[in-house]
Symmetry: C2
Subunit: 407 residues, 2 copies
């Protein structure tokens, strides 16, 4: 696997663009994105489990039911959630506008939205600018960046990746972009993720590979414990690489799955690193677990604890909060057998051994915790399984950003 | 029911005191408390559900098993949790020291601790000061305040209450104190609550009344989603009021239960109001629910949401976050039927009707949300049941307090 440039436009036959249409009324930022495949695609997606779903989620679930898509139109600045039947009409209109511009069927268009909940979507702004949006696809070397900018909200960094692998003697590319920095919690949240690939792969195999990858990446991510109304992770595969079509039983299917895992985990780590107000990427790894489920539950509880997150912000080696957070998680472990270490580029230090304080150098611990990427390592001494979860610290900036998000 | 003064010393036959023994090494604050009944007591308690339990919780669970206690010795500044077998020895030593000073059995003593996890309890400091602690009980008009000060950690306000009721023609008093402002979440957390009463009541009836009251008060409280290793709520009843002994089937049992509910709910509200770094008491009331369980689950999800809490801090009428938080709770409701209002001393305003934005005056909403006590009212239009949960906003001070708690 080689990292390459180009994001969602790296795979053959995909185009992307993004413009400002004015949904973010008071901001000069782009707010409308389009991703398009020149040929037919297999497609798969996972959506938010929140019972309150945006109209765009409901429509995209309908349109992807047959495992086929050719385009994604996405806006930021407005979630089109809690907007009633008008919201559904607007979502359908968005799909129709994109379809008319691209001369495809509206059933081939996924719609995605992100932003404030409960405000009617200004569909006129999209209607008036659909031609400009289509034009942004053409002869646009930085189309993937324009599209990425247009889906960002409180994100402070662009989060995209593209890789190249070889399948059946052919070069296959996977490209992806994501947005999301707050309202992120296991089981997806305020995140949109669009993945393109020129692999030839049947819809059921694509669906399985996406579910697997999401489980190991976006579902192991926590920023603030909230999960949103609008999440989706969506992949389109147009087959232009010319490889023999991948099925679940192809010998090369594993290569594709592992590459998709890599793409999604890389994006998940970028999202944690860019958590709202976050200064640090926090990785919580639970080792020596009896099974993966327990390891993930315990690691998520630690990564979600406000007290662990603030201690991480303050570079305070308060390991008691780590054990405490595991203690209220819904998984068994023995505190008397658990050890805790902190790790970063400055080294690794054991702070708790068998449930009690290890004699450790506080100055060294503070130095390790002072880094921008910190890992909390827990060893349960109970088995051989290991799992990691990604999160971030909780600092003043989270409060600043979310205390008045709408204005 | 009449409010009276005196806290845990208001009921007949109870004494209390508190001193500084030096567990909080770098602070001039009191850190050791004693509460004592001159006569035998029925007793009941509920304890943390965290799998990692402090030694004091384990010992107190042992000692209360027979439904009898006469004293509570409590320290702040050290949780005596994750301290291994030495921690258990220290907890037993604390009980023995109190028993020897009071000439009672160590089996009649509950032990409580609160503070940093994982640091050995400096038991010597308690040994050296046990005589001074006993002396603080005597001729001490403000003994209950001294005891209360000695269990406080990051609390900024004293939280106590006492009431008088009449049962069987006799005046009966209930007094209580609590500490806790962070690490508070449904199912008890970093809270100690000591309740005294001179009611005559059999242990099983006392136990039932306490469990009922805790369910409706401390278990409907959330500050930061963390639950601790040390929580307990404990009641001692010495019968000195001289009423006919209350049993579960006494006609006056309901009066006692309702008074205990009132005491615990009052303390829970004080704790939410004093949440770490909190500027506001946030009450979330869910009405029109099909059943109480759903109402509580939905209200807790709203009160626990970091995004709702920061919006509350910023006085931002971002009601979409309220519906969103209900959407990921594990209880059913129909967003299309739900309405949301904000309420405070400045009035009440509906911001969402049947799942969509109600046309509302943003300036008025901001004024209402600007108050120190704010209520979020959700009507599900689905039944007749109502339940409230208490929480607080999430502001900069939470981060400041918890970023470096140990130093």
């Amino acid at each position: 696997m080689t990292k390459i440039s180009g994001g969602v436009c790296a795979p053959k036959g995909f185009m992307a663009g993004g413009i400002r249409c004015g949904i973010k009324a008071s901001s000069p930022k782009k707010d409308l994105a389009l991703i398009y495949s020149q040929s037919f695609c297999s497609a798969a997606a996972v959506f938010t489990k929140n019972k309150v779903k945006s109209a765009s989620v409901i429509l995209s679930q309908e349109n992807i039911a047959d495992g086929k898509l050719r385009a994604i139109i996405a806006n930021s600045g407005n979630a089109n959630a809690c907007t009633g039947s008008e919201g559904m009409i607007s979502a359908r209109r968005m799909a129709q506008l994109a379809a008319d511009a691209l001369l495809i069927s509206p059933r081939e268009v996924a719609v995605a939205s992100t932003g404030v909940i409960g405000v009617p979507l200004p569909i006129n702004a999209i209607e008036e600018n659909i031609d400009a949006l289509k034009a942004s696809l053409l002869n646009n070397e930085k189309g993937h960046e324009d599209a990425l900018e247009a889906i960002m909200t409180t994100d402070t960094r662009k989060k995209d990746i593209s890789v190249e692998i070889e399948i059946g003697g052919k070069k296959v590319r996977i490209g992806a972009m994501t947005k999301g920095s707050g309202m992120i919690h296991p089981d997806m949240a305020t995140m949109l993720c669009f993945i393109t690939t020129d692999a030839s792969i049947i819809p059921s195999a694509l669906d399985l590979s996406l579910r697997r990858a999401v489980e190991r990446s976006f579902n192991r991510l926590t920023v603030d414990g909230d999960t949103s109304t609008n999440d989706m992770a969506l992949v389109m595969a147009n087959g232009e690489a010319g490889n023999p079509p991948l099925t679940e039983s192809s010998s090369d299917y594993k290569i594709f799955c592992e590459s998709l895992d890599y793409v999604c985990v890389s994006l998940a780590r970028m999202m944690a690193r860019d958590g709202e107000g976050a200064k640090k990427l926090l990785t919580v790894t639970v080792r020596g677990a009896e099974n993966e489920e327990s390891a993930v539950i315990l690691a998520k509880s630690v990564a979600s604890s406000s007290l662990v997150k603030t201690a991480c912000f303050g570079a305070d080696a308060n390991w008691g909060r780590v054990l405490c957070a595991m203690g209220y998680a819904k998984a068994d472990f023995l505190a008397e057998k658990a050890s805790v270490s902190y790790k970063s580029e400055k080294g690794e230090i054991e702070v708790c051994r068998e449930g009690q304080s290890a004699a450790f150098d506080e100055v060294k611990a503070k130095e390790i915790l002072g880094e921008e990427e910190v890992e909390i390592l827990v060893n349960l001494s109970d088995g051989n399984v290991e799992a990691s979860v990604w999160g971030c610290d909780l600092g003043y900036d989270y409060v600043r950003i979310n205390g008045d998000y709408r204005s």
